[in-house]
Symmetry: C2
Subunit: 347 residues, 2 copies
DNA sequence: CTGAAAGCGCTTACAG
DNA sequence: CTGAAAGCGCTTACAG
């Protein structure tokens, strides 16, 4: 009843465990007849190698940890899907650590010593990780960070140019003739994405020679639909409501759009809405959502490959190489929420 | 540079590894001063137990595998979030296996011998697993299945009563006075959810003394937005289009609704739409989506607890207990897509 | 091409 | 309450 071991197979095939191991691991120098005999024993016994023992011996697990704040945020779910796919292609399984945005857990997972642990490396999309936390990091498992750019931290990153993307989104709204342009998603506490996108937003105003009405910059606790909804409600209660809004995530945009529509506004006629992330949701909303679309496939692929390269490099005990900053492409995807209208006519 | 081991700590504290292990594992019978001395050594060395070694020794990993077709389908993402949360509460980490609906992979993960593997148990939400596959299963790791009911298979299940839920949804449409009621989501190949919901749908017709117009039953390849959109387009091209549609998932419903709106129909005036799953998406769509809402928290909690109970029972080597069928509650959530309208007026 | 043997770092039955 | 020692099931340097 106990699972057959390498030793059981060796006994049955009349060879040493060494040879069985060689067969199991497709080692080349095994005589054909030996291999056949061993394979027969394996099949008869239904032998399957014990991964736990292999892990201990080799010191690696062929598992990657993916650290995300919330798996049910579509952007993370879509990214997770791609990352799992890439990892699988490379022979790795993904273990998900959901932090719920808890900074302490993010920090632990990314900065703590991770030797002898169940994964070989970490891909993390931190919400609130500070540069200081990263400076003091003593993790032995390689880490690749997603979606932020905390320079000087000596950690590999994959991200789009958030400043430029945000500026493009805002400039596009200017180009439509909008003048009272709001932004939803500012976070003063943030060291990351929110700050960069705010800089881009302001940059577009500067370039247009326009002045930012600070009342139109709305801070949010999270990047969820409900935060977008609450923010929009506040904006619409202003004496002079906006005629366009740039939301720092598609979820914020969908929440904002919902409130605008529910209050009887026409989108885009009365209010142009643009989001960020290009989640599938926005492609089926009515109106469909204009958005900044980061190339998630490139982000996932780059992150997995870079991480695995680090893992392999660690095996060869080379000196720690320079940290790498990978810039993924993005594009502005124009849909109905800023330009078209659905065929129902209206207004 | 090498990570400190139990032995290093023992040497430094002047005790045996046994004692260090006792301290690390909070074994009660350790003298206070011994404990203090060992703890000091642990802190000085920065010792952290090697999980890989512990796994091998104990034969378990405190990891659960979650097998889902696609992580970026919101229903699975929301469920995954809850499952990860529950697992964490119980001291388990979750490893995600994404099958892309590939039946072979589903089968392998659920039915193969899983001794000496990186997880202690499996929660699976199979798309195409057949009863036969389950009959022949020789997995040693416990399995809990989600969302289907393949009786007689001797595997634990957690599911809502899909037949009753589907009938209720359909009866509700009848109660609104709708008569040409379509269904999107039929799958003739399916052994699971789709079949059960179809039965419920037909049951409502039977109860109402109405005849199902087979042209209004639309089969789909997947339960995605695009499938719902394509199905709706077909229905609207019918000489006598439906006045209501029951979609077997919210994604199908959102796709269907999008097409209806884009063609200038009013929802719910011209077409009532009801979905299944209650994903957050539907709560912010315009109009908001009426749906069957399975209690995902209960599903996640029941699944994790049942699985862990099996894992613990296996430790005690009791005889394999009867399989358990856990029925989770659900409710019909009525929103704008079947009754209200947004304040913009219209029609 | 293959064998005998060490060792990865833990946990724990057995003594005391 | 603690020690000395075996063993979980692999991989692999060392010989031959």
């Amino acid at each position: 009843m106990a699972a057959p071991t390498l030793k059981d197979v060796a006994l049955r095939a009349g060879v040493s465990v060494r040879t069985v191991s060689n067969v199991v691991n497709d080692y080349v120098y095994v005589a054909d007849d030996t291999r056949a005999r061993v394979q027969a024993a394996i099949d008869e016994l239904g032998y399957r190698p014990n991964l736990l023992a292999r892990n201990l011996k080799l010191g690696r697990t062929k598992m990657l940890a993916l650290v995300v704040p919330e798996l049910d945020v579509p952007y993370f779910a879509e990214l997770a899907r791609l990352i799992i796919h890439e990892a699988r292609t490379a022979g790795y399984t993904v273990l998900i650590d959901q932090t719920d945005g808890d900074e302490r857990r993010e920090r632990e997972l990314v900065t703590e010593d991770a030797r002898g642990v169940n994964f070989d490396g970490v891909i993390a999309s931190p919400l609130s990780l500070t540069e200081e936390a990263l400076e003091g990091r003593r993790a032995s498992a390689p880490v690749v960070l997603l979606g932020e750019r905390l320079f000087a931290a000596g950690v590999d990153h994959v991200a789009i140019d958030n400043v430029r993307a945000a500026r493009e989104a805002t400039e596009y709204l200017f180009s439509l003739g909008r003048r009272r342009i709001a932004a939803i998603g500012v976070q003063h506490e943030s060291t990351g994405t929110a700050k960069l996108r705010t800089i881009g937003f302001r940059g577009a105003f500067a370039a247009a020679g326009a002045v930012v009405d600070e009342d139109l910059l709305v801070e949010v606790g999270h990047y969820h639909r409900e935060d977008g909804a609450a923010a929009m409600a506040r904006l619409l209660d202003l004496p002079e409501p906006p005629d366009a809004v740039f939301c720092f995530s598609d979820l914020l945009a969908l929440g904002a759009q919902r409130v605008a529509l529910a209050r009887g506004l026409s989108v885009p006629e009365d209010l142009a809405v643009i989001g960020f992330d290009d989640i599938e949701d926005g492609r089926y909303a009515t109106p469909t959502l204009t958005t900044i679309s980061p190339d998630k496939a490139v982000i996932a692929r780059s992150a997995v490959r870079q991480l695995i390269a680090r893992i392999d490099a660690a095996d060869e005990a080379a000196e720690p190489a320079q940290s790498v900053q990978i810039e993924a492409p993005y594009r502005l995807v124009v849909r109905e929420s800023t330009q078209g209208r659905i065929s129902t006519g209206g207004s």
